[in-house]
Symmetry: C2
Subunit: 406 residues, 2 copies
């Protein structure tokens, strides 16, 4: 492909990276008129993709790990942009020099998903046809569309095949889709706290979150970008609802229980919305979220999550997995009730049925669905992921798939 | 007490009841200036109490069963008001002639709770001081306050002691409070799918429901009664969120799974909020709810639920239960995740520690928290409750507590 060749010639400059500070990069892909034909049939283009890389691409290009972020994540996985950054990337405890995903050894890529709001084209981007933000006219996005853009970024970076793709939750869905739809690109797949579909309860929670946004009068049918006030109440409430599902019953109880925010006397005041600590915490989570996330992106990405159903598309999960070449590591958390262990086991059974290599582990953690993001829980995860990646790297990803490279 | 004596003289007319049709009755209690001094310190009065009775009070007044309804229930437990009523009362499958709570044998009372919106004084009632609905000026209500009104209704009806008090969920909290605070009135206590407190996750779900109401601009700080439009979006959303917690993961999955509302093709339309059947169902539940419930009552009663904590008030659950005289039947449902079995067991352990009589049973049901309201699940419950009541009735409720009556 012409694009790929062009990309390769300049890939060195794109993939070298100072480890002192990280830098957000942007690729422009799917230029019109071709654009990207989405699963819905609509065409979109061009697509800006915000991505970051960490570590150095090996000469053989056999050390690539692509991280797929979850619903509200972004490309900023690790490190800081400047010395004054208050916080590093969202998985800084797991990805970096000498860490579980060791950037002294691996070349790590993460891109903000299509439909997102952290630099990649999404509902808040300018529609080239109209010159104003897409808003509700942003086309309908699926997990397959998101993965198409990941693939295009690999092309752009001149990378043929990954050593591993890794992700949790919605990131895990991208990984499943990727391993099935473009098996030649996925050397191995690490799936955390995820599933091959959302079940009714998960769809229900997404639905009430979206309802909160739709019902906010400041949402204005999705055309709020040029307004002074954004639908922050609706978006914050959606986040508060979702946040409950990210925590285990045990962790929320241990952390907050029935503790009051101020002292130990009840206020007997119905106007107080934050009398219990758990309420104050949820309000804080909601407020924090609206500063960094866009309501239309939330609608877009939760719906993409709802639609994903690997078995339905391929006849069965085993039929889907029969198409894969990757070795799988599937990790569930015992206290995760949004994507319970049973959903990981469903994937594992189907992989076995399809005679694929799969390692499964249920980690014990009190932290529920979010455990893969909790710093104190990362050592457990590292003990599974680091050796898995090391073995895959040692075996070589071009083994048996492309003798020309060996 | 003068009130009680006065009530007794006219109790016959108040407690006779045709079994063909039921009738909502209203008692006016706590007349000013005395009124009812609430737990918050505020005074309210007069209080109208809407109640219904079924069956006939025995001459010895030893066959009284008081049902405490749950969060959004009302006094209309059984039967129909007129021949053209589309639906009977909310527990018609369980309460009536020849049913589990046999109104040929027992005299059943149920009243709408204080703070409610089905005939008993609540935020939508006229504030006698201002002549307009209380709205946000309605005083803060606790479970103890609700039970005070139940006791006053018993006084009004000339009833000294109940054979049993029965209730699920928030109704169960009333029963615990009653058995502890007025032990001489509670012959036995039947607790269904309930707990001695709400844990952090339950408080969190109530908080997001209330947030949905507060964030609705039509809520207008609670002063919406004279407006044409009520805060129906907020209240409906609160109900939708809560409804998810009333269903087990298994039941919502079995009933809806990933089934689409229309056909089997995705719409790829973000404007559709009801593409999946589970979404359509939740929207229906929300719509149906706003026709019969008041937003301020929802705020009031969920906060009463949040505040309830029997152990905190009495030092420990066992110390609380040391004050009781009732025999207890505690029933949990294995798929209830709002009030899981562990919360029932906490009560059972404390009752045992306090050397009280308690029978515990965990019923197997796929229906989650709402199982005690599901018709098809009632036979299982009947096999526990009917013999328990029969035995209590046979033993006699005045045994050992008031020799004068024997």
């Amino acid at each position: 492909m012409a694009t790929e060749l062009a990309a390769q010639s300049s890939s060195e400059s794109r993939v070298s990276n100072s480890m002192e500070f990280v830098k957000r990069q942007v690729a422009t892909l799917f230029e019109l008129p071709a654009g990207l034909v989405l699963e819905s049939g609509a065409t979109i283009g061009p697509i800006q993709v915000a991505y970051e890389t960490y570590g150095t691409l090996s000469a053989r290009k056999d050390n690539v790990i692509y991280i797929c972020h979850a619903l509200t994540g972004d490309a900023h996985v690790s490190g800081r942009y400047t010395a004054s950054d208050r916080k590093p990337g969202w998985w800084d405890g797991f990805v970096g020099p000498g860490k579980a995903i060791d950037t002294n050894k691996y070349f790590v890529i993460c891109s903000n998903v299509l439909g997102g709001c952290q630099g990649t084209t999404g509902p808040g981007s300018l529609d080239p046809e109209t010159g104003v933000p897409y808003g509700p006219d942003f086309p309908f996005i699926t997990i397959r569309d998101i993965v198409c853009v990941h693939n295009a970024l690999l092309d752009y970076l001149g990378i043929e095949r990954t050593l591993a793709v890794i992700g949790g939750s919605l990131g895990g869905m991208q990984i499943l889709e990727w391993a099935v739809s473009r098996p030649e690109r996925v050397g191995s797949a690490v799936l955390l706290a995820s599933g091959a579909k959302l079940k009714a309860q998960g769809i229900a929670f997404n639905a009430v979150g979206r309802r909160a946004i739709y019902a906010d009068p400041l949402f204005r049918g999705g055309r709020y970008y040029r307004e002074e006030e954004k639908p922050k109440f609706g978006l914050a409430l959606a986040r508060m609802i979702a946040h409950i599902t990210y925590l285990s019953e045990q962790s929320i109880e241990l952390k907050f229980g029935r503790k009051l925010q101020n002292g130990d006397q009840f206020e007997y005041n119905l106007r107080s919305e934050t009398e219990f600590q758990v309420e104050s915490y949820l309000h804080y989570q909601g407020r924090k979220f609206v500063d960094r996330f866009d309501a239309n992106s939330y609608l877009t990405l939760t719906r993409a999550m709802d639609y994903f159903d690997l078995a339905e598309r391929h006849g069965s999960l085993a039929e889907a997995f029969a198409k894969t070449q990757a070795r799988f590591l599937v990790v569930a958390y015992n206290s995760d009730w949004l994507f319970p262990t049973s959903q990981s086991l469903e994937i594992v059974r189907a992989l076995v049925e399809a005679r694929r290599h799969v390692t499964f582990y249920e980690l014990q953690s009190p932290y529920g669905h979010d455990a893969f993001l909790v710093d104190s829980e990362l050592p457990k995860l590292e003990r599974l992921v680091a050796p898995f990646l090391a073995r895959r790297f040692q075996d070589g990803i071009f083994e048996g798939t492309s003798s020309a490279v060996k």
